[in-house]
Symmetry: C2
Subunit: 368 residues, 2 copies
């Protein structure tokens, strides 16, 4: 994996990650394909929409169908028929947010599956083995996602555990995979610094900021992003995990973040919440019943190029599968188009202007 | 609408229906798009798979979103973005099979919606108005689907009602639509003859056989098809409603039937029951867990060209939307390919050979 910065504008960077499976232009949005499928979409459609990298979930694939199954069929790319780069998370966040009866030990985490209650024990070594079996291009270290709020002692111990696990992941890494460290440290600036320094010492291919957007006020999250971003090596990709509110993305890009992932475009789509140039639209509303206009007149996606709001409302109300497809196409297009436009703006030295122009539209979409 | 017979082989016919929106090669299979969408599919995908005509349901679209909504948006073709021919059924069968508290009166049928219990009254004139508003290429007369079993007096009265309603539909027809009559008469040969004669007198653009596959033994259904098919005008399309077991289709084609519709390929797909050259496969079976072979090695569809049985099982087990998409693509391909091959065989004077060759495979798919 190679990372090249093309242009910088203050802390903001326009970059390019070159992998064996293709180029990822940064700042990049990674659509989420939790169970080896971006919900409702084919891999071909994702490519057409311009996705350059997908994220898939180690925790979910470990539980179902099992990494051995994926490996037997030739790895995750072959399994899901996506030939571009894939980043797998480590399961650390899912163990924190989904699994039950979680017991964190020094060696790893014992938990019960959220699906069937079965007992599991994930260690850094096993997580690296799973990600190796999946064959993702970028693997993530196994970390403890520090909860919010957490006192300083807990947070300190937690970040130390994450650092020890990071080293064990490095030791167990599959040489063909890139590996990213994950900075923890909760809402304590000195601990964020300590976490970053310990991980930088280990020399990862890239660095993620974890443990944000876990319940803290937005101002605090922004403060942590601005504090932590610049601590990370300039010549490595920086990834802000799980954040997709595009106002937050603008803030993070201004702090030098390069990579993002979020289920928001796909999940909201299935709930009929659609992002548009005129603000968020809830497609179920009565006012759209006879509306023959496209969802977003300024949008060039397949959905907006072909179907009326009346049709989108109709198929949403009766829960037809086509509704989830058309809505997902639109929302992913909205996100990927936003990132394309943002990269163009950075390339033209106009990120500030882009941010000012986009902010009111994003307010109407993300905080209407 | 023009109907041309290219080749006959005994009672079997190879034909071509020319509509303003395109050609329908017969024998034809009409995939079902009940709610203005073939479940899980885009119209573009249906075209790619070779569908030449879709069926949509008057009863469902009348209830949701309402024919006025469809009409306001420019009609059903514009609404669902399918520019090929559409046949709409009349709602007669759905009133019989879905609606509640049905009261058949001479003027029409009073019933309660299966969705919200609301009270409705469908008459032949309203049904023609609805189909006119939808703007389908081929409309069907409003009929009473005679139940099974039914005594001769009931069946006689029922067919007379259907004949009176057929005349009222003709009187109320929209001149731009083709209109098909529906032969009833239950399991009584003389009443089937009487129904056919009364409808032929009225001169429809085509003739359907209704009231079959309603619970009667298969031998009796075959007897009725062989009896009724030849009673219908040779120079008009003949449509056997709602039947899609491909063994039944072979039987009906041998009796001179030209058109078919059935939800079987789409519904079975969503339930993980897949038709293949090796017989029906239930994709959830444990044996497919690590199976890297395509679903059907002899199939050229998108699903079989790209994905393994292991993947299809995985996404089926966790109910991912892609499962319904990939399965539906495959099953529709299986049906449309069967019809293409059958038409080729008829064209080559080899329908008998085709039927003999296909019968064992179809047994394994439809009566395993």
């Amino acid at each position: 994996m190679n990372f090249e910065i093309m242009i910088t504008d203050g802390s903001t960077r326009l970059g390019k990650i070159t992998t064996d499976r293709g180029i990822i232009n940064t700042p990049a949005f990674m659509p989420v394909g939790t169970n080896a499928t971006v919900k409702a979409m084919t891999p071909g459609e994702m490519k057409e929409l311009g996705a350059e990298v997908l994220l898939s979930n180690t925790y979910h694939l470990y539980l179902r169908p099992g990494h051995d199954v994926v490996s037997n069929v030739g790895g995750l790319h072959e399994f899901m028929q996506w030939d571009g780069p894939i980043l797998t998370d480590s399961g650390g966040f899912q163990v924190f947010s989904l699994a039950q009866l979680r017991k964190i030990k020094d060696d790893g985490v014992e938990f019960r599956s959220h699906i069937d209650g079965s007992l599991h024990f994930l260690t850094p070594e096993l997580v690296m083995h799973i990600q190796g079996a999946l064959g993702s291009d970028i693997a993530m270290v196994f970390d403890e996602c520090t909860p919010y709020p957490a006192d300083k002692e807990y947070t300190m111990n937690s970040l130390k555990l994450t650092s020890r696990w990071a080293q064990r992941c490095l030791d167990a890494r599959n040489s063909e995979q890139s590996l990213f460290g994950i900075v923890q440290g909760g809402m304590y600036k000195d601990l964020r610094r300590q976490s970053a320094e310990e991980l930088i010492e280990m020399d990862f291919n890239g660095y993620a900021i974890g443990g944000l957007s876990v319940g803290e006020p937005k101002e605090l999250m922004y403060e942590m992003i601005h504090h932590t971003g610049p601590l990370l090596p300039k010549n490595k990709p920086r990834y802000l995990m799980g954040i997709g509110d595009l106002l937050d993305v603008l803030e993070a890009v201004s702090a030098g973040i390069d990579m993002f992932d979020c289920v928001m475009p796909t999940r909201n789509a299935r709930n009929g919440a659609l992002f548009t140039s005129q603000g968020r639209i809830s497609i179920k509303r009565e006012e759209f019943k006879n509306d023959d206009a496209p969802l977003d007149p300024k949008c060039s996606c397949y959905t907006c190029s072909n179907f009326s709001r009346a049709y989108l409302r109709h198929v949403y109300m009766i829960k037809e599968i086509i509704s989830m497809r058309l809505n997902t196409i639109h929302n992913i297009h909205f996100f990927l188009d936003f990132f394309r436009n943002m990269r163009d703006a950075i390339g033209n030295g106009e990120f500030g202007k882009f941010r000012d122009e986009q902010t009111p539209v994003l307010q109407e979409n993300f905080h209407p």
